[in-house]
Amino acid sequence: MILKPTREDLKLIAWGIGRVILGIGLIMIIPLVVALVSTEWNTVLDFLVGISSCVLFWLIIENTCYQKKDLSWSHGLVVASAGWLIAMLFGAIPHFLSGHFKAYLDACFDLMSGYTTTGLFLLQDLDHVSHGLNMWRHLLTYAGGQGIIVIALTFLFAGSSGAFKLYASEGKEEKLLPNVIRTARAIWMISLTYLVVGSIALWISLSCEGMPAGRGFLHSIWLFMGAWSTGGFAPQSLNLLYYHSLIIELITLVIFVIGSFNFALHYAVWTGKRSEIYRNIEIKSFVTTSLITTVILSIGFSKVGLYTSLGEFFRKGFYNLMSGHTTTGNQSIYSISFQHEFGFIAMWAVILAMAIGASACSTGGGFKGLRMGIFSKYLWGEIKQLVSPESSLQKVKIHHVRDIWLDDEIVKGTMLVLISYVSIYFIGGLLGIIYGYQPSVAFFDAVSAGSNTGLSASLTSPSMPSLLKVYYIFELWAGRLEFMSVFALFGMIIASIKGRRTGRK
């Protein structure tokens, strides 16, 4: 029997969402300041409208829906999933007002792509976007990488015992520290430390390449934010190709691979558990799949014969492969090159890498290394069981910060998420084929959206069909939240329609 949510349930959910939207409004202050300093008055006005809308929404919700009750699991799940959707609608206001979008749907697409650290975009004339809007694009992907719920937890939910439910609902189940608020702050501490180190390295390199200091400073911050959050946004439409620099490619490669690591792994390595870097199952899984896909890509390149030197293999092949594997989306080639220069084998090597994706509890997307590790260990355990005497019992253990024995519950959860990812990839690819795109191109962009990668084989553009845009927004959102929160939201909607009011007289 499904129970209909009560008015109190709905008010509690709305209250949680109100806090998340307030968080979005507060983050908009940073691009507003950048626009003010750059004397971009139209952009200033766009952000003032955006901030006012967020604050107004929060004020209305806070005054009408405030509840003394704490959030339950189902509330947390629905706040996370619905919160991301509503945050998209509010965050898209400055985007749309900038005049760089054909429609509000396109602005929403870019917002969801930013929050989910994907990096696909429908923005037109990127090379002439204001500093304020560019800061907003990169900031929202940086903030989205840590999780907008993590932001809200860090600043706006202090002391709430429902905090962990919200935190876990955003696809992050691991607590770095016993207290979830301290965990959220530790995530920010790691990200901000890398922001300083990575931006300085990029700034020095851009200066050596001849970029003026002021412009180089902004580019270094934006490039860092795009790479670290595995978002892949860059301030120029040519992405990394614009810089034509091996050192910039190397630094961003290091940043986005580290950015794709699990926050629990960062914390362990930083606080003394150095051996985690080679013992952790996610690292083992990532290294294995990286090397396998590298071999496939190299075979593809050798067969096509367009890239001949080892340097081209590395800069055009490995860089973009790793960008796909870490679900970043930074590109050192033209989008069209995937289709016309990579060839079938190398293109599918990138699709496979994107589908697998990065680490759990990181800024990345895809199946995640942890699930690949669990799946392969479980499969190996089953094979061993088959060839062992009937009386023996093969137990499987993985190492992820601590040793974990695999049980049916863990494997069932892993398989459910894996199947969900494969389903959204497949439906997206099929939709693209129905609209007349080549199968490789349709699957490339569908997997890129579902795994929150952002590489594009030139399908994603303002002229793509609206239904495909809406489906990709769904893919971005569901893939980032790892489905559970999305299932909970659908469950709540069904319960609101079909549920019974029992035991509440």
Binding site: T193, Y194, V197, L253, V254, V257, I258, F261, H266, V269, W270, T271, G272, R274, I277, Y278, I283, V287, S290, L291, T294, V295, S298, I299, F301, S302, K303, L310, F313, F314, G317, F318
Partner: protein, 49 residues
């Protein structure tokens, strides 16, 4: 007072050192992976010639 300040300063330095070492270890790991990949690409390229 001075002793406790010194101890706190020492703890902070130790923490910063530990974090810096963490960053170096993680960056080195990525460079090692890139080196391995480069080697593999060279091998495949040579075999496929």
């Amino acid at each position: 007072m001075n002793a406790s300040r010194l101890r706190a300063g020492g703890m902070l330095l130790k923490k910063i050192g530990s974090y810096a070492l963490g960053i170096i270890i993680e960056s080195t790991a990525v460079l090692v992976l890139s080196g391995l990949a480069l080697l593999l690409m060279f091998l495949v390229k040579t075999i496929m010639k």
